[in-house]
């Protein structure tokens, strides 16, 4: 069986009035997986998710999700979709159990099944005894877990998560990302997750969609964004100029960049040569590493090269 695209949009456009164009002729096709949707605030991420859910009507264009037309087959489609909005959406005077069970029933699960799934799902997201308490007293992290649980309780084939780590501390952020990653990989639920933080996407997703000002910038596997480059970075405490000169004499392609010397890896592996040259010149070596592009670097070319935590060779 040929695999059906998870999502296809055809010239999707959304305008608010005359002035604001949130989505501009967006056409993409995505295969199932864990997909990161990246863009600055206002790039059109939430608008796209809301159109896919039928919460917004596009100005023009169309879209299919799981093979259903989002405009005309909304109720059928949404049986199989879970949505975690960016904003608060919990009635704080209910308990998490009552609320999630209610939401499961609204998704068509029989009462008994809804109750059982609620208990399982809340455990899965890491809510235990607290689930019998009113959500009024919940921390942001607990609320985010309930929001994830209500998107997952009916066992969707696809989850749309809008900035799922919003407002979380670093620890909560890691836990949430881990949960999303596991849900996507271990249970085979496709995930489309928006974020304005590239690091998060890199951590969790296998496919990346970049939109800016409502337009598609790039859609590709995360690995192609972060492929190793054919360049070796050699950082020394002092004497980068000397080292560059020496290596150039040895016939290597070399470029100097501050305290770093960038060495092309075109032919051989020049590690021994570099080591010997540094020893001969008596320089202090800081690191040698093969450069890997980080997503941060790709989208913020002006930023300093600081995110490449690849182990030194």
């Amino acid at each position: 069986m040929p695999s059906m695209p998870l999502l296809e949009t055809f010239s999707l456009t959304k305008r608010y009035g005359l002035a604001v164009t949130a989505l501009d002729n967006l056409s993409i096709s995505l295969e199932p997986g864990i997909i990161g949707l990246v863009g600055a605030n206002g790039a059109g991420k939430s608008t796209l998710l809301k159109i896919l859910l039928g919460l917004l009507t596009p100005t023009s264009g169309s879209a299919t999700l799981l093979g259903f037309d989002v405009a005309t087959q909304g109720p059928e489609l949404r049986q199989f979709v879970g949505y975690m909005p960016e904003h608060d959406c919990l009635p704080i005077d209910m308990t998490a159990t009552d609320f999630v069970a209610h939401m499961a029933e609204v998704n068509g699960l029989p009462r008994r099944a809804a109750r059982e799934r609620t208990a399982e799902t809340l455990r899965h997201v890491g809510l235990f005894e607290e689930r019998y308490r009113e959500m009024r007293g919940y921390s942001t992290g607990m609320k985010q877990r309930v929001k994830l649980a209500q998107a997952l309780v009916h066992d969707p084939r696809l989850m749309l998560l809008d900035e799922p780590t919003n407002g979380l501390d670093p620890e909560g952020r890691d836990e949430m990302l881990d949960l999303v990653h596991r849900t996507g990989t271990e249970f085979g639920i496709a995930v489309i997750m928006s974020s304005h933080l590239l690091g998060e996407i890199e951590q969790v997703c296998d496919h990346l969609v970049v939109i800016e000002a409502g337009k598609l910038v790039r859609s590709d596997a995360v690995s192609t964004f972060t492929a190793r480059t054919g360049v070796l970075t050699v950082e020394v405490e002092t004497g980068a100029g000397q080292l560059a000169e020496r290596l150039r004499q040895q016939g290597l392609a070399v470029r100097e960049d501050g305290r770093e010397v960038l060495v092309g890896l075109a032919n051989a592996q020049p590690y021994d040569l570099i080591r010997d040259s540094i020893v001969d010149l008596g320089l202090g070596l800081v690191r040698i590493e093969q450069r890997r592009q980080s997503l941060e670097e790709l989208f913020r070319p002006a930023a300093l090269d600081e995110g490449t935590n690849v182990a030194a060779v």
Partner: protein
């Protein structure tokens, strides 16, 4: 129930999740869930005590006339019907309006205030399904509030009467108009209250809006009826929602009109028409509100 041993082990997150292979019941089940949730919420069931007080107190006040009648019947068993089923609404109409003003914002404003609406609308139902379920919940809540005292009144009168069987034989024809008028009143008050309350997430505005509708139109109706003359005066009573419902009730029971209804003496069909138009316009506006509301 999570067991202590689960907490003790490190990998607690993985224990629960399984795929769901069972049935998915779709839109009607979703509507039923929202309807039941709304009906319970109308009386504060499943919420903290403070949410129960107002609706329950108002529901009890609606029963007071029935209690009075039953008390009188117990003291003086000579069939003194001070409070008759056809008059019951006239005693409690303001209380029912207060009930609507308290409960309608709870039913429709809360989901907007907490922004839960986006979770409903991203599930397997239409926006109109949501509105229909909420409307049905409010109508049912109003029917409960109105019919419980009528049942008490009817049953109590039968028991208090010297010959209960004869009472039932004489009065069973009252059942249809009791239920019919209650349905008419519930649909009328429910639809107008819901559409007003659905306009805003703010509870205070919603409650004030519902009360203002009933109070202002009642005052306007009274002023018009007091100042106009001739046919204008006769039909001006249709400005007052309470008069519309009293006229409708009188007409459904085919009982002798009293007060201003006897005074202006217009056909019962006009009350029915006015009630249908108000309810119809309200429901159309409610539909439109939910088609447009941003989530």
């Amino acid at each position: 129930m999570s067991q202590p041993s689960e907490q003790a082990t490190g990998s607690i997150y993985d224990l629960g999740y399984r795929r769901y292979e069972g049935v998915r019941l779709g839109r009607r089940h979703a509507m039923a869930a929202i309807y039941l949730q709304g009906l319970k919420g109308a009386f504060g069931i499943g919420r903290r005590t403070s949410s129960k007080i107002i609706p329950i107190v108002l529901a009890i006040i609606v029963m007071v006339p029935a209690a009075i009648q039953l008390g009188l019947a117990a003291l003086a068993p000579r069939d003194v019907a001070v409070i008759k089923p056809e008059n019951y609404f006239g005693f409690v109409d303001i209380i029912l309006a207060l009930f609507c003003a308290a409960v309608a914002p709870e039913l429709v404003g809360r989901d907007q205030r907490t922004r839960t609406l986006s979770l409903y609308f991203s599930r397997s139902l239409l926006r109109s399904d949501y509105a229909v379920a909420k409307f049905a919940a409010l109508v049912t809540a109003l029917l409960i509030v109105m019919l419980v005292p009528q049942v008490l009144l009817f049953g109590g009168s039968a028991l208090a009467s010297s010959d209960s069987w004869a009472y039932l034989q004489d009065n069973w024809r009252q059942v249809a108009p009791i239920v019919g008028s209650a349905v008419g009143i519930a649909v009328f008050m429910g639809s107008i209250s819901l559409v007003i309350a659905a306009q805003t997430p703010r509870r205070a505005y919603a409650t004030g809006g519902v009360l203002a509708f009933f109070v202002i139109l009642r005052a306007v109706g009274g002023i018009l009826t007091g100042t106009l003359s001739g046919d204008y005066r006769r039909y001006s009573v249709l400005m007052d929602p309470f008069i519309i419902l009293r006229g409708l009730t009188t007409w459904i029971f085919r009982s002798a009109p009293e007060g201003v209804i006897a005074d202006v003496h217009i056909s019962g069909w006009f009350y029915l028409l006015a009630a249908v138009v108000v309810a119809g316009v309200s429901l159309a506006l409610l539909y439109r509100r939910y088609q447009k509301v941003e989530t």
